[in-house]
């Protein structure tokens, strides 16, 4: 059993302190030694707290958020609809320290010009021990890394990773309760999360994407009030970090997704969805190259007599490589940084073969996205991306190609 040192309590204390009292209303830019120490001890699971925010004297509430906007020009098989300007999302977070051991944080996202307003996170945390904290409310399921660490200003790309948002369902939040904790030993950090929440619904195999599509569950009704299947979904994650090497996360999420009983009568066979994910991030010290990625595997039980349009296996991954190429003072920005970056996306939404023809099922996406980013401060990123993708339909016809230019920014405020 890992020994818990008193100093760990101190680090956790610093960490929470840094969040709630990170900055004054004057929004000072410099990171303190405390913040640096906190950063080294963070795991992906801490991302929800690892955000700049404003706090006010004598008011136990911290406010923050971020805004993303960009231009987009897409050319699909030589055809383009022209240039679009997008204000993708405005996210606001608010935190409160209710008492010594009770904290509250919420994240509300406005998308599509305010037509879509989503509570992505709204949870009450009760700290009993660094290795044992209770969390309840609307929680983000800890599957992969991106779901819990998705703030735009942290990424060098306008688009979110396909595997995270179109195969998994980032940002995926559900009503539920659970526990989490962290501990340290030398250079090692270990963290865990385990939640029971509402689960998916049968829209994941009945949707206008015509494919098994986990994000379709969001089109269901009363997501935060009613569990479609009536059975709790478990999601959990183990994370390991070595301060000199990087972080590795292993996560699982699963449970029944269909309403197999109504009024006590069996109306369908019970069907489960199981999701496994592995995520990693590291920085190659010699070159300061940052690498982050995530791979996921989905298994969905579908009736044998249903259509093969809705596959029962999916997998995919993404990997970002970010290379700072210039860091200096530019205007008044200390340590302004130019980066070159590349993202690789791959998703196979329907793994397997057609039994009718013994040929491979298609429904795959491959994309490569080179990009350039400029960070005047760590909180703001200006980015230019060029995404080239190949998308195959279910029967593996020649891939449709599309190229998309993006230019935009994402910034905490």
């Amino acid at each position: 059993m890992m020994k818990i040192f008193t100093s760990n309590y101190f680090k956790i204390g610093l960490y929470l302190l840094s969040f709630f009292y990170m900055e004054t209303a004057l929004a000072q830019e410099e990171q303190s030694d405390i913040e640096q120490s906190v950063k080294e001890n963070q795991l992906n699971m801490d991302a929800v707290f690892s955000r700049p925010s404003l706090s006010f004297e004598k008011v136990p509430v911290a406010l923050g958020g971020y805004l993303e906007a960009n231009t987009m020009h897409r050319i699909e098989e030589g055809i383009t609809d022209g240039l679009s300007f997008q204000a993708r999302r405005l996210t606001i977070f608010m935190a409160a320290s209710i008492s010594e051991r009770i904290k509250f944080l919420t994240e509300i996202e406005f998308e599509n010009g305010g037509k879509e307003i989503a509570i992505e996170f709204a949870a009450l945390d009760v700290a009993f021990h660094p290795m044992f904290n209770l969390r309840g409310g609307i929680v983000m399921n800890p599957i992969g890394a991106f779901n819990e660490n998705h703030d735009g200003p942290k990424w060098e790309f306008v688009e979110r990773p396909d595997v995270a948002v179109n195969m998994l369902a980032a940002t995926q939040s559900n009503a539920g309760f659970g526990v989490y904790g962290k501990t340290y030993s030398g250079n090692w950090i270990f963290g865990y999360e385990a939640y029971l929440t509402n689960g998916f619904n049968s829209k994941i195999i009945s949707n206008e994407e015509d494919k098994t599509y986990l994000p379709a569950y969001k089109d269901g009704d009363n997501l935060f009030e009613e569990n479609f299947s009536g059975k709790a979904m478990f999601s959990g994650k183990l994370a390991f970090k070595n301060r000199k090497i990087g972080e590795l996360g292993l996560s699982y999420m699963g449970g029944a997704y269909n309403k197999f009983e109504e009024d006590g009568l069996s109306v369908e066979d019970k069907a489960r969805v199981n999701v496994f994910a592995i995520d990693w991030n590291t920085t190659i010290q010699a070159t300061n190259t940052y690498i982050v990625g995530e791979a996921a595997f989905v298994k969905v039980e579908t009736p044998e007599s249903y259509t093969p349009q809705y596959g029962n296996k999916q997998h995919g991954f993404f990997m970002d490589v970010v290379q700072p190429v210039y860091k200096n003072k530019i205007f008044e920005w200390e340590d302004a940084t130019f980066n070159i970056a590349a993202r690789f996306d791959y998703v196979d939404w329907n793994v397997g073969k057609f039994k009718e023809s013994d040929t491979n099922i298609g429904d795959q996406l491959l994309a490569v996205t080179p990009g350039i980013s400029f960070r005047p401060t760590p909180k703001t990123v200006f980015r230019i991306n060029y995404r080239y993708e190949w998308q195959k339909d279910i029967i593996n016809n020649p891939a449709e190609r599309a190229a998309t230019w993006y230019m935009g920014f994402s910034s905490y405020f």
């Binding site: 050319i75 530019i330 070159i340 009718e356 023809s357 350039i372 230019i384 080239y388 593996n396 016809n397």
Partner: protein, 398 residues
């Protein structure tokens, strides 16, 4: 910031940006694609084409929007990817009829097997001993031209008693038609029967008949035209509006005819001559002509489908023991050959030819011909290897 640094950054960034622009995917040539409208649609027709295109290619049906409960596919495009031929993963099993005009197994789901079901329901299974045939979806481009050929022209091509003695005795399919279809200009009827021309057995009168029937039998979508639920047999409320169905019909009517390729290639030119010499053109008529159509772009046009739209006895090899309407089980409508060279691009990179996809190459398809086509097949077999290759290259160019 030093100018030198900015210069270095620019050197890195600008070439990357502009080299990517040059890599943007180029639009395929029109002749490489099956989809797209006929030329010279007016603006109102173009708008309607787009509406139909969306319904045909983008509208996916789910349990919530009426799919099933028993079905074979979830959308039009699941059977006709890229407006081309279908793939075996969505095939149609027709069953119940082995003699002209006598329909059996109607109480057990005939004429089409809905072999899939939404969760909680059981799909149909083929009744023991039921005559049946597997069918793959046909290419849908150019259908408006085929629809606008007059009955008179079809009758002129028919030779049911082989009076010219060429061994080919194609006939029109005098058949029943649903009440909701309207006469096409110049419709000819005989003893209450009409000439039906679409479908593998030429069992379908027109594109409205085909479309309404496909929504109902393939996807389980009931409409004003076909209001009976395939699962319960009950007359139910429409799950799709009439406008959408008629937009799809308009889309099908105004899809362009496939554009032949490599017509100046010497091998193709030689193959074209061989195609004629081997008597293939006796059924696969190269040129037809439309009569009047309310769509000006289709009216009075010459086109090249390589079909006569007539029923022919294709011999025992292709006799599945199943039929539709008043056709014999050995009779099949001459399949249009236009677009066949592009069909791989809608069938996952492989050929699935003939009515059920059993032919995996054009040569396989030729060799499956029998009956009235026996002579043509024999002539093909007597060709040299080079001539066979030329003939196949010609067919692929269509």
């Amino acid at each position: 910031m030093k100018a030198k640094n900015l210069f270095v950054i620019s050197l890195i960034c600008i070439p990357i940006l502009f080299s990517c622009e040059a890599l943007a995917p180029q639009e395929p040539e029109e002749y490489e694609l099956l989809d797209g409208p006929v030329e010279n649609l007016n603006q109102a027709e173009s708008i309607r084409f787009i509406e139909g295109d969306k319904a045909f290619n983008d509208q996916i049906f789910t349990k919530e929007t009426g799919l099933g409960p028993i079905f074979t596919g979830t959308s039009c495009v699941s059977c006709h990817a890229g407006d081309g031929k279908g793939h075996p993963f969505v095939s149609f099993t027709r069953f119940g009829q082995d003699l002209p005009g006598i329909k059996n197994f109607l109480d057990q789901g005939a004429p089409q097997l809905q072999n899939r079901a939404i969760p909680g329901y059981e799909p149909e299974t083929l009744p023991s001993g039921a005559p049946h045939a597997e069918l793959l979806a046909p290419i849908v481009t150019g259908l408006g031209f085929l629809d606008a050929v007059s009955d008179e022209d079809l009758l002129a091509m028919a030779d049911p008693d082989d009076l010219d003695g060429d061994g080919i005795s194609g006939r029109v399919h005098w058949n029943d038609r649903p009440d909701y279809v309207k006469d096409r200009p110049g419709t000819i009827s005989k003893n209450g029967k009409y000439i039906t021309r679409f479908g593998k057995k030429a069992n379908v009168y027109d594109l409205l008949h085909q479309t309404a029937d496909a929504y109902n039998q393939d996807i389980g979508i009931n409409s004003y035209y076909e209001p009976y639920d395939t699962y319960s047999g009950d007359k139910v409320q429409p799950e799709i509006d009439r406008k959408t169905i008629n937009d799809v019909v308009f889309y099908l009517k105004t899809l362009k005819a496939p554009i032949p390729r490599n017509q100046d290639n010497p091998e193709v030119v030689a193959g074209k001559a061989l195609f004629e010499n081997t008597q293939c053109t006796a059924c696969h008529k190269p040129t037809l002509r439309t009569s009047y159509s309310p769509i000006t772009a289709i009216s009075y046009q010459e086109f090249h489908p390589y079909t006569d739209m007539l029923l022919h006895d294709m011999g025992p090899e292709l006799d599945d023991g199943y039929t539709e309407g008043y056709a014999l089980s050995s009779e099949w409508r001459t399949a249009p050959l236009w677009g066949i060279g592009l069909s791989k691009d809608s069938q996952g990179g492989e050929y699935y030819l003939m009515h059920d996809g059993r032919a995996r190459s054009i040569e396989d398809a030729i060799l499956l011909h029998g009956g009235e086509a026996e002579n043509a097949k024999n002539k093909y077999q007597n060709l040299s290897q080079q001539e066979k290759s030329q003939l196949i290259k010609f067919i692929e160019s269509l």
